[in-house]
Symmetry: C2
Subunit: 452 residues, 2 copies
């Protein structure tokens, strides 16, 4: 590919950037958003800590955990760093409640934050060192993601896993103080393990891919430290990641304004535990409920119109599990109109089988896509049995770049997730410590507060 020929040396330049990057060069706004991302990620891990997928993955992996060096967020039992990184990544992402990078729809915190948190428990690092490695990892994952978008995801690659592993490897490489050669090798070892299929979304095996991205990234850096050499061009080589995993990669996207514009600033936080395409739909339902004439019992039919992705990803009238509900517009509309809430308890197995939700779900007749509607917008139309109707439009969903979640809303989300997933944990000190992470001398202190 001609554009790959032009990218010769890309992997090495990226390694040099990572090697030479300094916390002093990271602007305050970037630091603050990184803090929000880790805060939000630990919150979603608390919420997912006891999900069946995570418990079952732990059942399979625990017999192969070598020690108790690292915390599984929200759990008493500890695991070795690789296993903890796997489980925490899976837990952060299991409800699809973690962050989203605008443009790639990559969820970078899940594969990356667990790696730097696990390393904080095995070597002394400060909160700012942790945040810096995290910021760099997010840059690597999101920039590689942008270079292979949109073809990569469209083809069927779960971009969070496939590109996340490079971010995880980069973040680990920074904390392990690898030299330039070793960083290239870390990326090479990651390239040999990069994986994850969209086919697994909606099933527990999605978590297998996400967990593996975190574990694989960390082990790639550890292998590089031990001298396991990789190819010189793992990204831009003729049979490297970009060429193999994308029909028309744009490698220049990886280096454009690197260290000047920060991808982490394009991270959006989700107000609701489900696919990002559902955010404006839920906003619309919660707003519609406040209309004076609203009556859930009078509803005859509901339809929704949104971006074509809404139809492609979330036109799912029949759902059997909480996981499927997370990507079902029909379920989201029914549960939100009925309950006026959109939390973890509204997208679990019990909510799916709630008789009232099921009845209302059957009344959601049409999910329509429309090329002119942006992804953060949607219109919900309610038709009542008496012939009246109500339309509710949302232009910019809560959590979109145009209407970001406030810090206060993030705190409330964190507290609600902790209550849902870890009722035994006093989450308040953990929240305070995370919010102050840039000033924490020993980042290990965070994880000590994440165990009940």
């Amino acid at each position: 590919m001609r554009n790959l020929d032009a990218a010769d040396g890309l992997s090495r330049r990226l390694a040099a950037f990572l090697r030479n990057a300094s916390w002093e060069d990271v602007p305050q706004t970037v630091r603050a958003h990184a803090t929000r991302a880790v805060f939000n990620g630990v919150g979603t891990a608390l919420g997912g800590a006891c999900d069946q997928a995570i418990l079952r993955l732990d059942e399979a992996l625990a017999p192969f955990s070598a020690n108790q060096a690292a915390t599984v967020i929200g759990r008493r039992a500890r695991r070795d760093a690789l296993t903890a990184a796997f489980l925490n990544a899976a837990a952060m992402n299991v409800f699809d409640f973690d962050d989203t990078h605008a443009g790639t729809i990559l969820h970078p915190t899940a594969p990356i934050a667990p790696v730097v948190l696990a390393l904080a428990e095995t070597q002394p690092i400060s909160g700012s060192q942790l945040l810096h490695a995290f910021v760099l990892g997010v840059e690597v994952a999101c920039r590689i993601g942008a270079a292979v978008s949109p073809g990569h995801y469209d083809r069927g690659w779960h971009i969070t896993s496939t590109c996340g592993i490079f971010g995880a490897a980069a973040a680990a490489a920074k904390l392990l103080d690898l030299n330039e050669d070793q960083i290239v090798w870390a990326l090479g070892n990651a390239s040999a393990q990069a994986s994850g299929l969209v086919e697994t979304l909606g099933f527990m095996a999605k978590s297998t891919g996400v967990g593996n991205a975190a574990r694989g990234g960390l082990v790639s850096a550890l292998m590089a430290r031990a001298g396991v050499q990789g190819p010189p061009r793992p990204l831009e080589g003729p049979r490297g990641f970009l060429a193999v995993c994308c029909g028309a990669p744009d490698p220049e996207r990886i280096e454009r304004k690197l260290g000047v514009e920060w991808e982490i600033q394009r991270l959006m936080f989700k107000p609701y535990p489900c696919g990002v395409v559902l955010n404006p739909v839920i906003d619309a339902c919660l707003a519609a409920r406040t209309a004076p004439a609203f009556s859930v019992n009078g509803i005859a039919e509901v339809m929704v119109r949104g971006n074509p992705l809404l139809k492609a990803r979330a036109d799912r009238p029949n759902v059997a599990t909480g996981r499927e509900a997370q990507v079902s517009a029909q379920h989201a509309i029914a549960v939100c109109l009925l309950r006026g809430t959109a939390g973890a308890a509204d997208f679990n197995d019990a909510a799916v089988n709630d008789m009232q939700v099921r009845a209302l779900r059957a009344k959601v007749r049409r999910v329509e896509g429309d090329e002119t509607t942006p992804i953060e917008a949607a219109r919900v139309s309610i038709l009542y049995a008496d012939g009246s109707s109500h339309d509710q439009s949302i232009e910019a969903a809560t959590g979109s770049l145009a209407r970001p979640m406030t810090d206060e809303a993030l705190r409330q989300k964190f507290a609600a997730l902790a209550r849902y997933g870890c009722p035994d944990l006093d989450a308040e000190p953990l929240a305070a410590k995370l919010w102050d992470l840039a000033n924490v001398a020993d980042a290990d202190a965070v994880m000590a507060l994440a165990r009940p």
Copy 2:
């Protein structure tokens, strides 16, 4: 893809086949070839046991090994089953001296045999149970490989790793006695981890991919046993492995004559520790040496003509490491004409830097590809300084389907590899036990003999 629509139910039917398969249905010739494959695989692992790549991978992984349940072939220290499966797979393949499946160029024993050998140390199974699971794993890996060939490898996927993980998962699923649902989940968890790039060939990171295929396959089955559910169509789904990893998959190839014709019978064993395209080249050099007029000192120039793949994969005049030498026609010609041998010691770092080899390597002026030459054929032309010349043609290389290695040659290869990689091990009892594997009551006995 239309041909994938026609394959609906493929994953489940494959799972049913695996669940219901019985050793009694496996013909004697298939059993014998499976025994040869495991024998040859353990031999190549002995040879690679102390290669730098394996030592470094072990350095990175050993701190995360939970126990000493499983043998690392040729080593005293034991590791947990996942780590041992990783290291043994990497060691079997590190010299490219393991077996090759005709048609796909997949090396199935490396990702699969280590899994069944590790399970033999953690649960009681007989030699025939081990061989049966191995045979089934090879079927799954090679049939999936055939379904995505040739586009998959051409695109840059290292098929041994990407398809090997499904074979490893299938073999483990059989020994773990998983039910049909669980086998589909095991394939789904494998699909979330399937990876490996051709870009890594010639570098230690190739071993990362191969090791990961074995480890990932085993952990996929263990996850399925723990209830980690996967998608119902991990192979044939619209965003499943076949659609994502191949432009024009032939899913029908997976089921055609399943249980009737056995892919394992298309496994070829390598007489020389290097890329399979070099086999006829080496045969030609060893034969040329026996000509009365042969004189290594008189050689002015050498050229070789073979299949286009010879040129594509092995036209490599400048080599710096043993790994690169394994895919260098120039090196193979030089070392074989000079020494008259083609063993592990002829394709290591020392051989690459041997001054006499370097001098002769520089005289190999041309490596040519020719569409009409089959992959198992080649012609080496030697031009002497006195103007005379000698041409040596090989029609069917040693180790090809048309001219398979004899059992006696396999025994000699095994013994030579053991001497090379594990001089402290008495390899004779191990060889005898492996040769009799189908009749061994407790397969654990094999691995007990594989430690010095």
